[in-house]
């Protein structure tokens, strides 16, 4: 079972809701009862007047409804068509956004690998720290787009930056952590299983 499936199962608990009658009565018990609505002669008069108007409007509406039915059907069909077009457009937009995001990621990969290749370790760690939020943001955006597309999309296998940033942040953390810190073991295991994003998220300050 992967993390997404577990999250989906956890989200099923959103169905737990309190009984609405209990919510209202508890509210009244705690904060106090709202002032009751008085139903005076004038209220009754106003109610009868309003009711008559609604009834009249209802009759008028009913008499026109038969004529309007066909127009409604046509409008409904047009609406369905419009929704389908909008959905198609959304998919196109998301696909385009994904392509753009991956292009930006590729650009970042290139500048990161060429920069850290010539930097001393300390400088490279600082650089990795500075771009860590950007790497996380890109990863999250990518996941979001793929989720919204709701189709199988080829995974972006290029994880050079993620791996490089995670390695530098981890090295820095190991240098500063106390010996025997159980978090080191956990981070190393995540790194070894390729969960670079997770390592970056946990170490990004």
């Amino acid at each position: 079972m992967n993390e997404k499936e577990i999250i989906n199962q956890i989200e099923s608990l959103k169905a737990i809701k309190p009984n609405q009658e209990w919510v209202s009565s508890a509210r009244a018990d705690i904060i106090g009862v709202d002032s009751p609505v008085t139903f005076s002669f004038f209220n009754k008069f106003a109610f009868v007047g309003t009711f008559s108007l609604i009834l009249l409007a209802g009759l008028l509406f009913y008499s026109q409804s038969v004529v309007l039915e066909e127009q409604k059907m046509a409008a409904k069909e047009a609406e369905v068509l419009k929704e389908e077009i909008a959905k198609q457009k959304e998919i196109e937009d998301l696909s385009l956004a994904l392509a753009e995001l991956r292009a930006a990621k590729a650009e970042l990969d290139e500048s990161f690998s060429s920069a850290v290749a010539v930097m001393p370790q300390k400088e490279a760690i600082d650089y990795a720290k500075s771009i860590a939020p950007q790497v996380i943001e890109m990863k999250e955006k990518e996941e979001l787009i793929i989720q919204s597309l709701a189709v199988v999309v080829d995974e972006d296998v290029n994880e050079d930056t993620d791996r490089g940033v995670a390695a530098l942040l981890l090295a820095d953390f190991v240098d500063q952590a106390e010996e025997g810190d159980e978090m080191i073991e956990e981070l190393e295991s995540l790194f070894e299983s390729g969960e670079y994003g997770e390592v970056i998220k946990m170490l990004d300050k």
Partner: protein, 170 residues
């Protein structure tokens, strides 16, 4: 006074569902969850009106309600000195959902609720806050009084523990 009532009414309306759910998942009983939720909001109301009259407002009412709910649940278990799991979640799902679907949802809910119930209190809290109430890591770290990094680690560990439990159930 009416203004204070109105203001607290908004707090109540905004958080009643999440606080009820938070408690329900921990106590696994509709009646107990209702009692403890009422107790939470009664205490919150007293603190809220007191803070208004003293001129020192409670900055984060949601955090206050969660902390109160946590303490109330702890007190409840101390007094019960037992952690029985009696799942009556069937009653809490919207009755308009068809029977087959409800059975499926209940089965998923039961498994995940049992899994969460097996976790340490702190792990239960972070999972509920992160994935059900959709709080951000900074918000959770504020509730826990821990650094963001420590909170991230805790969320990760809580998920790993839950994953281990659920994998054994499949």
């Amino acid at each position: 006074m009416n203004d204070i009532k109105k203001e607290f009414g908004q707090v109540y309306d905004e958080h009643i569902e999440s606080i009820y759910r938070f408690i329900y998942i921990k106590v696994n009983s509709k009646d107990v969850a209702e009692d403890l939720t009422s107790e939470t909001f009664t205490r919150a109301w007293k603190a809220f009106s007191k803070s208004k009259s003293s001129g020192v407002p409670i900055e984060n009412m949601r955090a206050f309600c969660y902390r109160t709910a946590r303490n109330i649940v702890i007190d409840y278990y101390k007094s019960k000195a037992t952690n029985s799991v009696s799942l009556d979640s069937v009653q809490v799902i919207d009755e308009s959902v068809d029977i087959e679907k409800r059975a499926m949802i209940n089965s998923d809910m039961d498994i995940v609720m049992q899994g969460i119930a097996k976790l340490k209190d702190e792990y239960q809290d972070v999972i509920i806050w992160r994935y059900l109430d959709e709080l951000s890591v900074p918000e959770i770290s504020e509730l826990l009084g821990k650094s963001e990094q420590a909170t991230r680690v805790m969320i990760h560990r809580a998920m790993t523990s839950l994953k281990n439990y659920l994998s054994k159930q499949v």
